[in-house]
Amino acid sequence: MKAFKLHNPSQLEQALALLDTPEAKTGKTRILAGGQDLLTEMKEYLAEPDALVNLKHIPGLDTISAGGAEIVLGALCTLTALEEHAELGKRVPALVQAAASIASAQIRSQGTLGGNLNQRPRCWYFRSEQAPCLKKGGKECFSYGGMSKYNAILGGGPSYIVHPSDLAPVLVALNATAELVSKQGTRTVALEKYFTLPSESDVTRETVLQPGEILKSVRIPAPAANSRSHYLKFREKGSFDFALASVALTLVQEGGTIREARVVLGGVAPIPWRAKGAEAALAGQAPTRATFEKAALEAVRGAEPLAHNGYKVPLVKGLLIRALEELCA
């Protein structure tokens, strides 16, 4: 990778000052957290920053506060810290399942919550230095007429990437919010609005995080007492692979009826995809196979597969059924 300057601020204000610059706006100054994605981008010359702002020396960014009315996750907490957190495992098991499913133990020990949410897509055109794709400022999304096996079936266009994060669908299902800080101040964004569709926003970005901003924490409202959550990830390769599709579920069941459900799909769209149709099909219904199948049908309604990813339609249906079976067992 290209040589760079490494800034190790010891205070958040210093970091924000370093990011409130023209260089940060153009991507010449980038944020370094765990580096598990950024360093791969830099090795492929997908990113060629002149300077990195390392957040790991700033105190207070990695704490996990799981006990209160609101769960607060510092964006610098590692994926292993999430995976091993007993309290989180009790209150929001889907989050711990998702964290545990990421990459490998080696990557989880360094990768962070913020890094996982802000990682760039894995699309092989995007990651190829020789392919000047739409997302990199070029004219064409090459997956559209090309090798599209791992691309989007929902919400795609004009870019057809899928968002690779496992934590994102779960956090959307849990109704989480993100705290963003910059030199100008703090703002809060619902996770559901944090990720952007290429049809509605700057196609070269995946989130609303602006240059100069740091994702500081993610907050999860206390789940209802009788709420349960589940994350099911489907991979081509069981060891170390991104999801072909994944399902994040939260469910409130009363007696023999599903009172409400949140269904968020991963690996199928440029953003974590709220399957509202599936949610509606579950609400007020008994948790039976027939209900699950209806929900599955709704989940893929409107899907527009590309040449090689049509399989994601039955896959998502099947996966949602399996996830509901596991959660309601």
Binding site: M1, K2, A3, F4, K5, L6, H7, N8, P9, S10, Q11, Q14, L18, G35, Q36, L39, T40, K43, L52, N54, K56, H57, I58, P59, G60, L61, D62, T63, S65, A66, G67, T80, E84, H85, A86, E87, G89, A103, S104, A105, Q106, I107, S109, Q110, G238, S239, F240
Partner: protein
């Protein structure tokens, strides 16, 4: 999993102070021998942790590293001085900047996909190719060379040997490191836990079955 201080019935410590303590420990490595371009950290030149109460120390300045610098890393229990750039990965530092070179940690993909460069950082498995050497100051690094020697194999290495958990051997250090990290935290790991622990390691010769057997034998307390 360890209990939180809540669960132990203690007053939870101030998270800020905890993080500052962690930060101070990590900065201690810098003071011990690194030469920095700018901004020496003044309040962090000792390696004794600050007390939990907020210290009256002045706020340390930000540090910027650029070009060729000399740093000190703790590798296998010894302090090693080496010259590197900010962009030098730990993998490159171990293999090319240490004298003598530590080549037990292998370069196979340099992208985090294969686990051959697995080391331990503060007891956790990590990929040397996705770590910046300068970021490891003040951390405890263990490489395969630190786990045992041909004359004195660790229990896991001995078990690998007798079960034939290595063929060409190029993936072997990475597997040993991953599984050892797992056994360090779960001495009685199950087959599932062992598989998970090395799910980020690739073996082309196909030694997986023997590797699992070797690891299980140690987990079950035998040889």
């Amino acid at each position: 999993m360890s209990q939180t201080s809540d669960e132990r019935g203690e007053t939870p410590p101030d998270p800020e102070a905890l993080s500052r303590r962690r930060f101070l420990r990590s900065a201690g490595g810098v003071a011990a021998g690194g030469v920095l371009v700018q901004g020496l950290l003044t309040s962090c030149e000792t390696s004794t942790p600050a007390p939990a109460a907020k210290a009256a120390a002045p706020k340390p300045q930000s540090e910027t590293l650029e070009g060729e610098i000399e740093i000190e890393l703790s590798i296998n229990g010894a302090q090693r001085k080496l010259k590197c750039e900010p962009r030098t990965t730990l993998l490159s530092a171990l293999r090319n900047r240490c004298e003598p070179a530590l080549t037990g940690t292998k370069e196979v993909c340099d992208r985090g996909n294969c686990g051959a460069c697995t080391v331990h950082v503060d007891g956790r498995p990590a990929l040397a190719c996705l770590l910046l050497a300068v970021d490891l100051r003040g951390k405890k690094i263990t490489t395969i060379e630190g786990l045992g020697s041909p004359e004195k194999l660790s229990a896991l290495q001995q078990s690998f040997w007798t079960h034939d958990g290595q063929m060409c051997g190029f993936c072997t250090p990475g597997f040993v490191m991953s599984i050892q990290a797992c056994l360090d935290k779960h001495p009685k790991a199950s087959l599932e836990e062992i598989k998970r622990a090395c799910s980020g390691n690739v073996c082309r010769c196909g030694t997986y079955p023997a590797v699992f057997e070797a690891a299980l034998a140690v987990a079950k307390g035998g040889k």
